[in-house]
């Protein structure tokens, strides 16, 4: 039961991943791309957690935790650049 659900989830998250990737490449504006990158971070977190469930391992948890945190900072920095140019002021 669980393995079926995980497989379906993999499929869906994978599709979301590909679509976010396409949006990142197409743009057309910078905010679109930043948003796509942020979505990719979220998708990656989902992928890693799914992988952990699939393999029955807790090893991937920290990586997911870190992406959740670091990805946020990356997004903030990129947005701040768009808004102000100088990100540390």
């Amino acid at each position: 039961m669980l393995s079926t659900a995980v497989s379906i989830a993999f499929l869906l998250v994978g599709a979301a991943f590909v679509m976010a990737l396409l949006r990142l490449l197409y743009g057309p504006d910078q905010p679109d791309r930043i948003l796509a990158l942020d979505t990719l971070y979220v998708n990656t977190v989902a992928l890693l957690v799914l992988l952990g469930i699939h393999l029955g391992s807790a090893l991937y948890f920290e990586a997911a935790l870190l992406i959740a945190m670091m990805g946020f900072v990356g997004t903030v920095a990129l947005c701040k650049y768009l808004l102000r140019g100088d990100i540390i002021e």
């Binding site: 991943f17 930043i34 990158l37 990656t44 920290e62 945190m69 990356g74 650049y81 140019g85």
Partner: protein, 947 residues
């Protein structure tokens, strides 16, 4: 040619006392101490230098009687046993003689220099260099191992460089120092080659073995190249023709240095080497030809030039060259009696030449010039100094009752014995007599020109006798000249005998140090030389005119300069042929070179590209990630002219690579990659603000196509190589670490155990580099103010809201959570993915987040912005943790661990490596913040200044 026998049994006597090591090391430690003490008064450094020398002498005293028993004293201290290199020192007659000379004359020079140096010369620096030299020279004469000897040999070249360029504001001092270093350094390189060959031939680098296997060495096919290389080393150091030119130019050094290094000790190092290796290398036709011709040419040329030098020190310098040639010639003649005479002349030359240099220094000091055309008639101003100098000059000329006469007489006897009625054998005695007559003439000139010959011309000051203690060293040396000259049997005989024994490695032949040997050929040669010298000096005016006409015609120094320029020019031509300052060109050349070499390596290889390892089946997610990676890489290249967009795409690449690391069971790498990724984005954004937002197309189309092709081929080649290697099964070293991680390092996270334990020393080096990089960037940015963009890339004004409130409030809440994650990652690092490096980056990112959303001002009100103490304490913690293992008698960075049971937490393991990891953590936090914050502050400061 060695006709003496009865070899002394050179046995290794091992003593527990390590006084020889101390003799060598005390001056090195004393040098640092002397430099430090000079902060508290310049004279203290003189006292300290004297005390250090006396201490080294005191360390030598207990072993003083040993060489007289006929057996060398050998003391061994394990140093690098893995390389077979020990700190092993040897004290025999020759070593004792030189050590006494180095320390004795060293002490006198220290006393002399205290009065010689001006008030504005830095005394501490002078004495520190001098002690550095003293230690190096002692190392040469006491070393038992050839490699050890070579190390000290190079150290003397370096300390000589420092001493010659002591007055670094003077151009001639800097040039002379460079020339001396180049020539002696070249010789050192040759000597290294010679020693390596010698060690291979003899099967050992220890002198005891080498000296005992002379026959085998001389019969070896590699004997000739080895001898040439060793002699190159010896001849450059001892200023033998044609390498003599550096010594006169080294006279730009302060006179105490000239007296000590460039007449008494360092230039004797080459001769010491000849004497040291005499039993092993001498006695072949090649040795005789090379050493004799070099010695003879140096003897004659030095004496000839010395006569025409108007500079007092120049005269003494070329006279030194000539006397060094004399001693070399004696070792080249190669009979046991000649070797005895050589050793004897080493002693005599050191005493009279050092005292002459000191006298010249006094004259220079008192008159303000060393030009003998201006200094005349000083007898009336300083009769006492004049008497001392005249005694020493008489010794230099070889006048009876002075010590120079005795060794010169032995030298004449050997030269006369060489004459055996064969066709060319008369050349040697005749040349020797001519050179000696010239020596008499220049000694006479030194006395007559300086102390008599009219009145001094336009001196800036009236000369008078120097301070009493400035004369004492000269008095002592001159007294030795006289005592040895009149009572040789009571004074120098025992030391000479034991030194000669150790040069010959057997009992030295009977020699008679009497002043009067009867009417023999040597006496006749002495008389001819003395009378000839008088005649030459009498006829000096026409000779001087001839010399003045040809002055500078053949100057080896000029030749050296031209050669040097040619070498530099050639090197520059090669460099500019490749490097035109274009980075693209360099990368292209590198790739073409790598591809070319790689293709050559693959020629004729028939092995299939794909190895035999079984391939892992591909799954959907991996495919998607790989696809994304490829698309991202291509997109970055296509979009690279729009820099901000390219940066976003690069962010995706970093994320995908982290995902691949996680997928292939490298969680540590994944965590590191993620943390580094964010820091990199912030860093690039900070830099991008000051840079153009678009990259213009500068290269031509053809060139871009060429570069694309090159890049594609290189990429394909790398892929093929990676594929070839990855599909081949091979043993890796990971098994060892997996097996030893828990028993050896006490942690189950192998990556972290490797970083902080197995390869802890590497990590220490890396964090040091990181700290230096941080401080370097800080130093470069300090005071740098750059204007940023006033409008955004599309021409609109920037947003007015510096710190959006929602964002600011949200990130404040995130800070404690992020720090908690950081602490968690740090603590579990030893057993689970994590560790100090990742934790440090997380902390840094968490703090950077506050700077981003709340601003520098807000953050600095709560967190001190000075990161230097953080970096310093990190390095300190890391180093001290490593050194703590010394206390327990273990090597640097040995780790220990134990398990403790904490309530609630459970079984917890404490490792000393964790303290080391804390050091890593602190350095990473400090350096990252230091770099990012100061990059960010460049603009802010500029704005503030404008406001």
């Amino acid at each position: 040619m060695l006709e003496c026998c009865d070899p002394i049994n050179a046995s290794h006597s091992q003593r527990l006392i390590m006084n020889l090591t101390l003799v060598v090391l005390v001056p090195f430690l004393g040098a640092a101490l002397t430099g430090w003490v000079s902060r508290y008064g310049r004279l203290r450094s003189a006292w300290m230098a004297g005390a250090v020398t006396a201490l080294a002498l005191a360390c030598l005293l207990p072993s003083l009687p040993v060489p007289f028993t006929g057996e060398p004293l050998i003391q061994r201290l394990p140093w690098m046993p893995g390389l077979g290199l020990d700190l092993v020192f040897r004290l025999d007659g020759l070593g004792l003689l030189f050590a006494m000379m180095i320390l004795g004359i060293g002490l006198l020079v220290i006393i002399y220099a205290r009065y010689y140096l001006d008030a504005d010369d830095c005394m501490g620096r002078f004495y520190a260099y001098l002690l550095l030299f003293m230690g190096s020279m002692l190392g040469i004469v006491l070393a038992e191992n050839l490699i050890l000897l070579l190390m000290f040999w190079e150290l003397t070249s370096l300390s000589s460089f420092l001493l010659i360029s002591y007055w670094r504001h003077r151009q001639d001092a800097r040039q002379g120092a460079r020339m001396a270093l180049t020539v002696t350094g070249l010789g050192g390189l040759a000597l290294l080659g010679g020693f390596l060959l010698l060690g291979e031939i003899a099967g050992s680098y220890e002198l005891s073995v080498i000296l005992a296997s002379g026959e085998a060495i001389r019969a070896h096919p590699l004997y000739s190249p080895m001898l040439v290389l060793v002699l190159l080393g010896a001849f450059t150091k001892s200023a033998q023709f044609p390498f003599h030119f550096w010594l006169p130019r080294a006279m730009a050094a302060p006179t105490p240095v000239s007296a000590y290094l460039h007449s008494a000790t360092m230039v004797k190092a080459g001769i010491f080497l000849l004497a040291r290796l005499f039993p092993a290398l001498s006695g072949t036709p090649l040795w005789s030809v090379l050493v004799m011709s070099a010695g003879l040419a140096t003897l004659l040329i030095g004496a000839w030039i010395a006569l025409f030098k108007h500079d007092l020190k120049g005269l003494l310098a070329y006279s030194t060259v000539s006397h060094l040639g004399l001693i070399t010639l004696l070792f080249g003649i190669g009979t046991p009696l000649a070797a005895v005479a050589g050793v004897f002349h080493i002693i005599n030359h050191a005493t009279f030449k050092a005292s002459l240099f000191m006298a010249a220094g006094i004259i220079d000091h008192e008159c303000g010039t060393r030009d003998m055309r201006r200094i005349n008639g000083l007898w009336h101003f300083m009769p006492y100094t004049a008497t001392l100098a005249m005694v020493a000059s008489a010794s230099m000329a070889g006048v009876p009752l002075f010590n120079g006469f005795l060794s010169k007489e032995m030298f004449f006897a050997e030269a006369a014995n060489f004459f055996d009625l064969s066709t060319w054998s008369w050349v040697l005695p005749v040349t020797v007599v001519i050179a000696s007559a010239l020596a008499v003439a220049y000694s006479l000139r030194f006395i007559h020109d300086v102390f008599f010959n009219g009145e001094p011309h336009d001196l800036q000051r009236t000369p008078h006798e120097p301070p009493h203690w400035m004369k004492v060293p000269v008095e002592i040396l001159v007294a030795i000249c006289l005592l040895v000259g009149i009572f040789p049997g009571f004074t120098v005989e025992p030391l000479l005998a034991v030194a000669a024994d150790s040069v010959l490695q057997c009992n030295s032949p009977a020699h008679d140090l009497a002043i009067w040997h009867g009417f023999n050929s040597a006496f006749a040669m002495s008389v001819i030389a003395l009378l000839g010298g008088l005649l030459i000096y009498a006829a000096r005016r026409p000779l001087f005119m001839i010399a003045a006409r040809h002055e500078g015609l053949i100057d080896a120094g000029v030749l050296f300069g031209r050669t040097q320029q040619a070498v530099i020019g050639a090197a520059r031509a090669v460099t500019t042929a490749f490097d035109t300052g274009s980075l693209q060109r360099l990368v292209a050349l590198l790739l073409i070179g790598a591809l070319g070499l790689g293709a050559v390596g693959l020629l004729g290889v028939s092995a299939p590209l794909t190895g035999t390892a079984t391939l892992v089946p591909a799954d959907g997610i991996s495919l998607i990630v790989a696809l994304g990676l490829g698309a991202g890489a291509i997109a970055t290249t296509v979009l690279h002219r729009q820099r901000f967009t390219a940066l976003i795409v690069v962010g995706v690449l970093g994320l995908l690579i982290a995902l691949i690391f996680a997928k292939f069971s490298a969680p540590d790498l994944a965590l590191t990659q993620l943390s580094v990724e964010v820091v990199t984005i912030v860093l690039l954004l900070l830099a991008l603000y000051f840079l153009p937002q678009h990259t213009p197309a500068e290269s031509s189309r053809v060139r871009r196509v060429r570069d694309l092709g090159l890049a594609a081929i290189a990429g394909l080649g790398t892929t093929a190589l990676a594929w070839g290697i990855l599909t081949r099964p091979g043993a890796t070293i990971s098994g060892y670490f997996l097996d030893n991680s828990v028993p050896g390092g006490g942690g189950s996270n192998v990556v972290n155990v490797i970083l902080v334990d197995f390869r802890g020393f590497d990590t220490l080096g890396e964090i040091t580099v990181l700290a230096l990089a941080g401080l370097g960037i800080y130093a470069m940015l300090k005071g740098l103010r750059l204007p940023g963009m006033t409008l955004d890339p599309s021409g609109r004004p920037w947003n007015w809201d510096l710190h959006p409130t929602i964002m600011a409030a949200l990130t404040r809440l995130l800070l404690p959570l992020a720090l908690l994650v950081s602490a968690f990652i740090f603590l579990r690092g030893h057993n689970q993915p994590g560790g100090g490096f990742i934790a440090g980056l997380i902390t840094a990112v968490a703090l950077i987040m506050q700077y981003l959303t709340n601003g520098v001002e807000w953050t600095h009100r709560r967190l001190h912005g000075n990161m230097h103490p953080v970096i310093a304490s990190g390095l300190l913690v890391g180093t001290l943790t490593g050194m703590a293992s010394f206390v327990f008698g273990h090597p640097f960075l040995t780790s220990t661990f134990s398990h403790v049971h904490w309530p609630l937490v459970g079984d917890f393991e404490l490792a000393s490596a964790m303290a080391f990891d804390l050091g890593v953590y602190l350095v990473v936090v400090g350096s990252t913040l230091l770099i990012l914050i100061h990059l960010g502050l460049m603009r802010s400061a500029a704005t503030q200044e404008r406001d």
